[in-house]
C-alpha cells in the first residue's frame, strides 16, 4: 500500500473495487475432454481484479466522464488536427469482414482489404503528387523513421556512405531530430529568421560549405510548424538538392495542403501522412496513429513493405487480383503484418465521402477557420507573424503588463470556460507559444465563443491574475504535482511477484 491510497480520489482504482470470486464475464463450459495441466510450469497467482460486469462498465464510464474529447467540445490543439471523427467510419471498422480478418490469411482471401489498401495508396499518392505509397508505418513518427532510413540507404547505394547529416529547422517537431538519431545519422539544426522561415544564409552555409558532401537531406514541415506557408520553400529545396541531399516533408500539416499544392510537385522526395490527423481517424487518447509514406521515383524501391500491387490485370472474367510485394531495395518491414489496417479503412471512407470535388474544401475551410480566429484574436494577443496563416497560427500567450501570467495559465483557465487549451510552448522558437488549430469541422458560433473566452481571460489577467494562476477551478482535478510524480515514481498498483532467486 502506498501512502496515496488513503487520499481522496475521483474514482477508486479497478483493483480497489470488487470482491474475491467475482467475475465480469460469462464463459462457456469446456466441451472437450480436459487435458492434464503441466503443474510444474504453472503460475501460482494471477493478481488481476475481481469485478462484476456492471461494476466494470460503471468504472470505465465514470473514468470517461473525466476526459475532455472532440465529441465534447472545441479542441484547438495546434499541430494535432483534432477534427471530427466520423461515426460511420467506426461502424465500418467493426464490420466482421474487417474486424475478424486474420492478417496472415491467403492473399486470395483478403482481396477486399487489399483492394481498399491499393486504392488508398493511389489516392494518397494523388493527393501528395508522389509516385508510390506504403501504408505500413504505424504512426507519423514511424513514417519519419522509414523516410530517413530510405534516404540513408539511397545514399549508401550511390556509394556515398559519408552523407549522414540531416538538416532540421529549430522549429521542427521533436520527432524529427529523434528520428535522425534513431536511424544512426546526425542532426544539424538550422535557425529560423524573423519571419519564422528557415534562415537561407545558414542553410547555404551548411549546404555549400565544407560539410556539403556529408549532407544526406533535410526534414521540413510544410506549412511550417508556425502554420505559415514558407514563401522561400523552392529555394530551400533547390539548395539542399544542389548539395546532393534529399528533401523530407513532415506531413503533419497536410490539412493545409490538400488540393492546394502537391508536395511531390514542389520536388520533395519523400513525406509521411498522419491518417489520424488529416484523414480523420481518431486519436484514441494517444493512439493508434497511422503514418503512410509517399515517395518519388528515386526512392520508390526503398519503401517499407509490403505494399499492395495488382498481380493480374482485370479482364472480362472479373476484378484484378491484388498481391503483396516487397520493393526491390526495401528498408524492410517496419511493423508486423500490413500496418494499422483499421486506420486505413477509416481514411478510405473519409476520402470517399469528400471525393475529387470535396477534398479541397477540407483545406479551404480549415484555413478559413484558422484565419478567422487569427483575425479576431490578434486584437487581444500578440501575433508574432502578422500574415495569413495556414490551418493554424501561433499567438504569444501573455498579457501586456501582467508579467506573472504565462501561456500555461491562459491554457488552464480555458478549461474553466469549457475548452481544450491550444498547444503550449511549441514551436520552441516563439516565447509563450499558444498554437491554435481549429480545423474545418467547427461551426462559427463555437469559434466565436472561444474568442470571447480568450478575451475575457485577457481581461481577468489584468483584474484578477490569481484566477488564472490557480486555474483550472472547475476541472475534475486542479494542477498536479509533477515533481512528486517523478520523485515517488508510483507506476503500478500491484506488488510485483518475487523474481527467481530474489
Amino acid at each position: 500500500m502506498n501512502e496515496l491510497a488513503s487520499t481522496p480520489a475521483l474514482q477508486p482504482l479497478i483493483y480497489d473495487i470488487g470482491a474475491p470470486g467475482r467475475i465480469g464475464v460469462n464463459l462457456p463450459d469446456c466441451d472437450v475432454p480436459e487435458a492434464e495441466l503441466p503443474t510444474e510450469l504453472l503460475r501460482d497467482d494471477l493478481p488481476l481484479p475481481e469485478v462484476g460486469e456492471l461494476q466494470v462498465v460503471r468504472h470505465f464510464v465514470k473514468l470517461s466522464h473525466l476526459n475532455y474529447s472532440i465529441d465534447k467540445g472545441f479542441y484547438p490543439l495546434g499541430s494535432c488536427t483534432m477534427k471530427y471523427n466520423p461515426k460511420v467510419n467506426e461502424d465500418a471498422a467493426r464490420l466482421p469482414g474487417f474486424a475478424q480478418l486474420h492478417p496472415l490469411i491467403e492473399e486470395t482471401g483478403a482481396q477486399g482489404a487489399m483492394y481498399l489498401m491499393y486504392e488508398l495508396q493511389g489516392w494518397l499518392g494523388e493527393i501528395s503528387g508522389f509516385e508510390a505509397v506504403s501504408l505500413t508505418p504505424a504512426a507519423g513518427a514511424q513514417g519519419e523513421f522509414a523516410g530517413i532510413l530510405m534516404i540513408r540507404n539511397y545514399h549508401l547505394d550511390q556509394g556515398e556512405a559519408q552523407r549522414d547529416i540531416i538538416l532540421v529547422p529549430n522549429s521542427a517537431h521533436g520527432t524529427n531530430p529523434a528520428t535522425v538519431t534513431m536511424a544512426g545519422m546526425r542532426v544539424r539544426e538550422l535557425p529560423s529568421n524573423d519571419q519564422g522561415n528557415v534562415d537561407l544564409d545558414s542553410l547555404r552555409a551548411a549546404c555549400q560549405g565544407e560539410m556539403r558532401d556529408q549532407i544526406a537531406g533535410m526534414m521540413i514541415t510544410v506549412p511550417s510548424t508556425l502554420g505559415l506557408f514558407e514563401s522561400t520553400i523552392h529555394d530551400v529545396i533547390d539548395i539542399v538538392h544542389d548539395a546532393g541531399g534529399l528533401m523530407y516533408m513532415d506531413g503533419a500539416n497536410m490539412n493545409a495542403l490538400m488540393a492546394v499544392v502537391k508536395p511531390g510537385e514542389l520536388d520533395f522526395d519523400v513525406m509521411h501522412y498522419n491518417l489520424h490527423k488529416t484523414f480523420s481517424t481518431p486519436h484514441g487518447g494517444g493512439g493508434p496513429g497511422s503514418g503512410a509514406v509517399g515517395v518519388n521515383e528515386k526512392l520508390k524501391d526503398y519503401l517499407p513493405g509490403p505494399i499492395v500491387d495488382i498481380i493480374e490485370e482485370e479482364d472480362e472474367s472479373g476484378a484484378p487480383l491484388y498481391g503483396y510485394a516487397m520493393p526491390a531495395k526495401s528498408i524492410g518491414r517496419i511493423k508486423a503484418f500490413q500496418g494499422n489496417f483499421g486506420m486505413h479503412l477509416r481514411a478510405y471512407a473519409y476520402i470517399r465521402v469528400y471525393g475529387d470535388t470535396g477534398i479541397r474544401d477540407v483545406t479551404r475551410y480549415a484555413v478559413l477557420n484558422a484565419n478567422y480566429l487569427r483575425a479576431k484574436l490578434m486584437k487581444t494577443y500578440k501575433l508574432p507573424y502578422p500574415r495569413y496563416c495556414g490551418h493554424e497560427f501561433v499567438l504569444e500567450g501573455h498579457v501586456d503588463d501582467v508579467e506573472e501570467v504565462h501561456a500555461l495559465d491562459i491554457s488552464k483557465r480555458l478549461m474553466d470556460y469549457g475548452f481544450h487549451p491550444p498547444t503550449n510552448y511549441f514551436p520552441l522558437i516563439v516565447p509563450e507559444a499558444l498554437l491554435i488549430e481549429p480545423t474545418e469541422t467547427e461551426v462559427k458560433e463555437d469559434l466565436d465563443a472561444f474568442v470571447e473566452a480568450m478575451e475575457r481571460i485577457a481581461e481577468e489577467a489584468r483584474t484578477d491574475p490569481e484566477l488564472l494562476l490557480n486555474a483550472p477551478h472547475t476541472a475534475p482535478v486542479r494542477r498536479l504535482d509533477e515533481v512528486r510524480a517523478v520523485k515517488e515514481l508510483i507506476l503500478c498498483c500491484v506488488p510485483a511477484l518475487p523474481a527467481a532467486g530474489d
Partner: protein, 444 residues
C-alpha cells in the same frame, strides 16, 4: 458539404472579418504555378453509399465471422466480451488526444495507469509503459534499451529463431543504422543452445514464450546464464498464455514485451494492435514511450500524470532514444477493460479452455494417418503438425469446407516445409475441431 458545417452566410461573415473577398486569397503564399492542382479521385459519396460500399468491400474477405479459424501465428481470434467494444466506443475516450493536459484527461490517465498495473501483474514486472505500436516494435525498442543499459559498449544481440519471423525482420529494420550484430535466429535447436552464444559482448538475449511454434521452452536456467555475462534477458510473451504459465518475472526476465492483441483487440487484418513493454524498476528510466504515474493535485486529491517526461522526443529531441510519439492508447484501453472483465478467475478459465481445446485437437490430429503432431514440449494453444502434402493444398481444401487452416511454416523455415502451425482457442467449438479433423483425415 460532408463534415464541414459552414453556411454561405457564415463564410461571408468570416471572410469580411479576415478582410479578404474569397477563401482562395488566403493561399497567395503558395507558388502560383503549383496552386490548386486537380485531383484524380472518385466523386464524393453520401454516408449511405459509403456505408454500403464498406460493407461490400468487407464481405470480399474470408473472415472469422464466416469461417471456423485455426490460424494464429501472432494474431489470435479470441472471444471479446461485448462491454469492451461499448467502452471503446465512448467518444470521451476515442476522440481525446494524448493526455498532455492532465486536469481534463484523468479518464485516459487512470485507465492507462490501470493498464500498466495489470500488465505488471501478468508479466511479473515492476513497471510498464503505455504501449508501443505492436509486439514487433516493442521487441525492437527492447534492443535499444539493452544497448543503452550496457552503455553501447556491447554489440551482440541474440534472437532465438523461435521468435516470430516478422518480429525479427522488424528488429533488423530498426537497427540497420547501428553498428551491432544480430545473431541466433538461424539456429534450429533448443533455447539452451543460445547460451553458447553468450559472451561479454552480448547486450541481450531474447526468446519467445510460448515460442513461435506454441511451445513452452524450459528456460529455468536461462536467466542466470544471461545475467552471468552481464546481458539482459528479454522475453516476448503472449499475455494470454500468462493466464496459466509462470510469469516471465518469475523466470528472471529483465524486459518483457509482446503483442497485447489477444487481450480484447480484434484481428483487424493486423492492426491496430498493442505492443506492451514491461521492465524491472531499475530500467524504467531507460525505456521509451509514455509512462503514467500517480501524484496529488493542489488540493491533495490523488490523480495521475504523464511522468519521466524528459526521456521523450518532444523534450529531449536528438538525444532521445526513440522517436515514439503516438502509442496504441485505445488498444491499451481495450486490454484494460478486457482484463478487468475477465479478472483473476475468468482469464485463468480462458487460458484453460485454450489449453484443453488445443490438446484435444492435437490428440485427434495425431491419430490421423499422414499427420504427426510435435509433442516433444508442452504447448499452449498452438502446435506444429507435419503433413504429408503441401500446406497450401491442405488449406485450399479446408477453405472449401468453411475452415481457415493453420499457418504454413514452410514460408519462413526451410526445414519446416509441409508443416502447419495450428491454433485452437476458446472460440473453437468441439464440433468445429471435429470437422477440422474429419476434413484433414479425408485429405491424407
Amino acid at each position: 458539404m460532408s463534415y464541414i458545417p459552414h453556411t454561405a452566410v457564415e463564410t461571408e461573415q468570416m471572410l469580411t472579418e479576415i478582410g479578404v473577398s474569397s477563401i482562395d486569397e488566403l493561399f497567395d503564399a503558395v507558388p502560383a504555378a503549383y496552386r490548386f492542382p486537380r485531383l484524380e479521385l472518385p466523386p464524393p459519396m453520401s454516408e449511405m453509399e459509403v456505408a454500403a460500399e464498406m460493407l461490400a468491400i468487407s464481405e470480399a474477405n474470408d473472415h472469422a465471422g464466416d469461417y471456423a479459424i485455426f490460424r494464429g501465428a501472432g494474431a489470435y481470434h479470441h472471444f471479446i466480451p461485448s462491454a469492451v467494444n461499448h467502452m471503446l466506443l465512448r467518444g470521451e475516450f476515442y476522440t481525446a488526444y494524448t493526455p498532455y493536459q492532465p486536469e481534463i484527461s484523468q479518464g485516459t490517465l487512470q485507465a492507462t495507469y490501470e493498464y500498466q498495473s495489470m500488465m505488471c501483474a501478468l508479466t511479473g514486472m515492476d513497471a510498464a509503459n503505455a504501449s508501443h505500436y505492436d509486439g514487433a516494435t516493442s521487441l525492437a525498442e527492447a534492443v535499444t534499451v539493452a544497448l543503452e543499459v550496457t552503455r553501447h559498449k556491447r554489440r551482440k544481440i541474440i534472437l532465438s529463431h523461435a521468435i516470430h519471423p516478422q518480429y525479427r525482420e522488424v528488429v533488423r529494420t530498426y537497427h540497420q543504422g547501428r553498428d551491432i550484430r544480430i545473431i541466433g535466429d538461424r539456429g534450429r535447436g533448443d533455447v539452451i543452445e543460445l547460451v553458447e552464444m553468450l559472451d561479454e559482448n552480448t547486450a541481450m538475449l531474447a526468446i519467445q514464450y510460448p515460442n513461435f511454434f506454441g511451445q513452452i521452452d524450459n528456460i529455468a536456467a536461462l536467466a542466470d546464464a544471461v545475467h552471468e555475462v552481464g546481458a539482459l534477458l528479454v522475453i516476448v510473451a503472449n499475455p494470454m498464455a500468462l493466464s496459466l504459465f509462470r510469469s516471465p518475472g518469475e523466470l528472471g526476465a529483465d524486459i518483457v514485451v509482446g503483442e497485447g492483441q489477444p487481450m480484447g483487440v480484434p484481428l483487424s487484418y493486423g492492426g491496430p494492435y498493442l505492443g506492451y513493454f514491461a521492465v524491472r524498476q531499475k530500467y524504467v528510466r531507460k525505456i521509451a514511450g509514455r509512462i503514467i504515474g500517480e501524484t496529488l493535485d493542489a488540493d491533495g486529491k490523488r490523480a495521475f500524470v504523464m511522468t519521466l517526461r524528459p526521456r521523450e522526443q518532444d523534450i529531449k529531441r536528438e538525444r532521445a532514444t526513440s522517436n515514439i510519439c503516438t502509442n496504441q492508447g485505445l488498444m491499451a484501453l481495450s486490454a484494460s477493460v478486457y482484463m478487468a472483465l475477465m479478472g483473476k478467475n475468468g482469464l485463468r478459465r480462458v487460458g484453460e479452455l485454450n489449453y484443453h481445446k488445443a490438446h484435444y485437437a492435437a490428440d485427434q490430429i495425431n491419430q490421423l494417418d499422414g499427420y504427426a503432431v510435435n509433442t516433444s514440449k508442452t504447448f499452449f494453444n498452438e502446435f506444429v503438425v507435419s503433413c504429408s502434402r503441401p500446406v497450401v493444398d491442405i488449406n485450399k481444401a479446408l477453405l472449401q469446407e468453411g475452415i481457415i487452416g493453420g499457418y504454413d511454416l514452410g514460408q519462413n523455415y526451410f526445414h519446416l516445409e509441409n508443416h502447419m502451425l495450428v491454433c485452437v482457442t476458446e472460440t473453437n467449438s468441439k464440433a468445429e475441431i471435429d470437422r477440422l479433423v474429419e476434413v484433414l483425415g479425408g485429405l491424407s
